[in-house]
Assembly symmetry: C3
Homo-oligomer: 420 residues x 3
Amino acid sequence: MNLNKDGFVKSSLFLISSLVRGVAMSKSAGCCKRFLHYAFDYETPKTLVIPSLGVGFVFRFTQFLVVMYVVGYVCVVQKAYQDTDTVISTVTTKVKGFAFTNTSDTEPRFWDVADYIIPPQGDHSFFVLTNMVVTPKQVQSRCPELPSPSTICVDDCNCVEGHSDPRGNGIQTGLCENYSTTARTCEVLSWCPLEIDTKLPEHALLAAAENFTVLIKNSITYPKFNFHRRNILPHVNSSYLKRCEFSRLTDPHCPIFRLKDIVSEAGEDFQDMAVKGGILGILIDWSCDLDWWAGECLPKYSFRRLDNKHPVNNVAPGYNFRFAKYYKTADGEETRTLIKAYGIRFDVIVFGTAGRFSIVPTIVNLGAALSFLSLVPVVADWFLVTCSRKRDLYSRHKTTHLTEDADSASVSMGTTYGTQ
Amino acid sequence: MNLNKDGFVKSSLFLISSLVRGVAMSKSAGCCKRFLHYAFDYETPKTLVIPSLGVGFVFRFTQFLVVMYVVGYVCVVQKAYQDTDTVISTVTTKVKGFAFTNTSDTEPRFWDVADYIIPPQGDHSFFVLTNMVVTPKQVQSRCPELPSPSTICVDDCNCVEGHSDPRGNGIQTGLCENYSTTARTCEVLSWCPLEIDTKLPEHALLAAAENFTVLIKNSITYPKFNFHRRNILPHVNSSYLKRCEFSRLTDPHCPIFRLKDIVSEAGEDFQDMAVKGGILGILIDWSCDLDWWAGECLPKYSFRRLDNKHPVNNVAPGYNFRFAKYYKTADGEETRTLIKAYGIRFDVIVFGTAGRFSIVPTIVNLGAALSFLSLVPVVADWFLVTCSRKRDLYSRHKTTHLTEDADSASVSMGTTYGTQ
Amino acid sequence: MNLNKDGFVKSSLFLISSLVRGVAMSKSAGCCKRFLHYAFDYETPKTLVIPSLGVGFVFRFTQFLVVMYVVGYVCVVQKAYQDTDTVISTVTTKVKGFAFTNTSDTEPRFWDVADYIIPPQGDHSFFVLTNMVVTPKQVQSRCPELPSPSTICVDDCNCVEGHSDPRGNGIQTGLCENYSTTARTCEVLSWCPLEIDTKLPEHALLAAAENFTVLIKNSITYPKFNFHRRNILPHVNSSYLKRCEFSRLTDPHCPIFRLKDIVSEAGEDFQDMAVKGGILGILIDWSCDLDWWAGECLPKYSFRRLDNKHPVNNVAPGYNFRFAKYYKTADGEETRTLIKAYGIRFDVIVFGTAGRFSIVPTIVNLGAALSFLSLVPVVADWFLVTCSRKRDLYSRHKTTHLTEDADSASVSMGTTYGTQ
């Protein structure tokens, strides 16, 4: 090997070649040469070019299929060249509206936001009171239990002092008292009078709540891409926001929702749902393609009832909870108004995954696709030796068989070949 | 090349072949032929078939190892053929139970859900009050500070008007007052009387809370797979739900939990934890394999204390917060009852990843595995030329060495070969 | 094929070889032999070794580039060998501090935690009251509306009984009353007196809130790796925690934050923000490399204002909500104090992804990289036949062309070769 003649080995090779040249002049040249051969001799497969349009076409077509798969499915449909991140979000909600109730059961009453929104803070989950069982003026005292098979008594012997039935309402005092003119029940120590929650109004008290509106402000972040966005879009102006109302067709990006619309979009009836309460999901999908050639990143709203409506196996259907307002009477005694509140809990659920071109998933998926390209010659070779017309000729030239008793250097194909 | 004989080139090839036929008849046939050769000549490696059971076995065994790895580890253990999605969940909780307290410190009192559950809404995080320091009848006024090195004074000179010590309880008025018969402290402007929170009851006030039960309703969604599920399973009927109670062995799918069981499953003692409070995680794992051949998707419950129990470096151990109930006296003055509430906050944490067969990760992982298959011949070739008995023979036939001074067409192996 | 000589086929091969030997002795030996050939004959490409430093260098250099890419970018920068998991976290917050307000509008008042923290529980989101519009002594009654173009009237004819204007404050009674000496407005049924929220104090009422501190306790879990960690680090001792305060430079791991510092780190002015309120994100990044050779897993704090400060298109700028404290007068009438609370909501947002070495992503990424290694010979071959000096010689020896009319066994290159 005449290194001096390797004129194309330019600047970057200068170091190596001068080292080699230097070494070549020394006496250990033989050893070095062997290393150079080991490291830089290039071993390449011998190939046979077959001028067959059939085989060539099978080869190119299989290649084409793999490339189509990569471009079509992996890149376009699945966007496998993207790195992904999950959304981080903050939600503020603000309900507006008031109502006036005047039923036979309750006193006339005016309701505003501070009365029916619990908790008042307006974060991602808010509850709109629509129906209620109010038990006013409860005080810590003794009263006869509500009549039920386990509480009805004839005399004091039927009641055990200190006994507390998990299904009851208090701790028994051991006395049997008149609950009504017809029934006697065990007396209990409790907040009295006891709540009678079977008398739930059949029509929701705050039926007018269906016309309340809620403004949802949602800011999101994709921390990996340092991408921030609000659901109040930049091109939307202030006067539009004052009068708009979400509508999938005409105002799909207005962040103000009428409660009735939310419920009906979820396929439910507001008045129905308002009686026993329920949970309604306001789902905001921020799935976005953040590559510059993709369109804008916009929120997509959808609505779904999250609790089961008429399930077979339901304990405590609907949605309700008890809370109390505590008062003190003039003489310092604590009294409370117990409210069993039925209503709709709106949960704003923000989700989404953003994708943006990234080199690593691209490489991984390209790599995987290239692996399939390396399958292409396997397919073409199989076609060559089994299906093509001149398969015998092709495989005779392509493949050399060593004979079984190849101890001598003879091969099955050509004896003039390979002698040394 | 006789294109007319290529009878197998069927309908899909018709266009090309007729094009070619047409072109071949024209005068620019030579140029076109060259292009056809360039595009459709198939170049395939010449191969040597070696009938050695040893080398063949090494080859097949290495192939077998790679296939085993793909099937066994990637597919079965890691399910790398699946696309994954993260759970979205809604939680409703409802606590049941009441208690009666009658200690020397406090008045006898009956407690129900509206008294001890804060906040009352019952979402994914609820707090059960178990112990408390109550400071009733606080009014905005002046009172001497609690005695501490920085608040004890001898006369008014020790107290600075308007000074507010971050560790104190109010704004100093500049006066030095009698706190008790033995101690004098600076007077402060504050809610008086001041809270003395060092007198925390040693035994939890609401020790009975351990027998309260909580019903957890949890609906989950995997949006990518449009998969919805509740933790109240479809086959569970209503009468079972009325009497059941979660038990890992007998009732693993009952959604009603006794607080004591939750705490003891987390390795803690309820009475211990109730004194100073703490945070307990109810973890619901919805990790699921959604492929149809996999089993049902069921929630797995586990429980873990989330705050540190006896850490060395803890400020404010346990869990407590202060809240107040506000009253107005008959003459319109505002008064409040300050409650430092100790208790257990139960956080329902829902997590999980669902996987379902998807073509892209399958392709990616198959591709990666196929890449390893392309390593197999490297291993087998190395074995062939270094370890097999007839290695000299094999490598003589496999490899042709160009001689170093290969300017002439001679090669090191066979002179009868390759003459030009 | 003399199987008896295959001495290297050891114990693991014993079964196969004895089977083969047994079969070979039987009469169906021919068929079996054919199967053995089919399964275990090893087909390997014939190769040509080219002692060209140029081509060898191109080959090695391309290999080196691929390996560099794998090591440098995929492994070091992107850590593509890791499996990842998303954080699950619990947060407890506890605010400390008190303030005294004495403005011309309101009575002197002392504020402590129970007064200004809403909700009081201290979970991942807490609200610090900084400004407010208080409307005390509201009762359900009738009063004239606030003057506005739609509510001003001349006589009763202008007011419609039962009409409720969504922008108004109650249900009209149909009467026109004197609002002031100069204006007459329609009377409404509502909580009276009505709130006049235009008189928001220009300077925040609780300006002193900037010196309040908040202790954030955060426990995280990576369930896939069974990894638990708190933001109070193990080496931090109790006395340090009593006096420390977060500072990016001097105390980056102290979990106690001064509200003013949080706001100014987010690039805002506390006094500015306190007037109209806002939402401030306390972001805790737990992104960790959990491999043992990586450093410790530590939380990184950052702060960002989450609502828009001066947006063009904003309804309800800042952050506020209404809540009420309910009282009962001596004669049982319900009265309330309505508070429109302005303040800063602090959202503790915990996020992060942990990675740990895992075999599957490693294999996938290695596989992809190996696919690129299989591209290296393509590059080197291209260089060989187009750029190297002796390209004619090399390609003559590397490639054999079948002639077009190769029906006879003649090949274009050497007629002495391949006769059978």
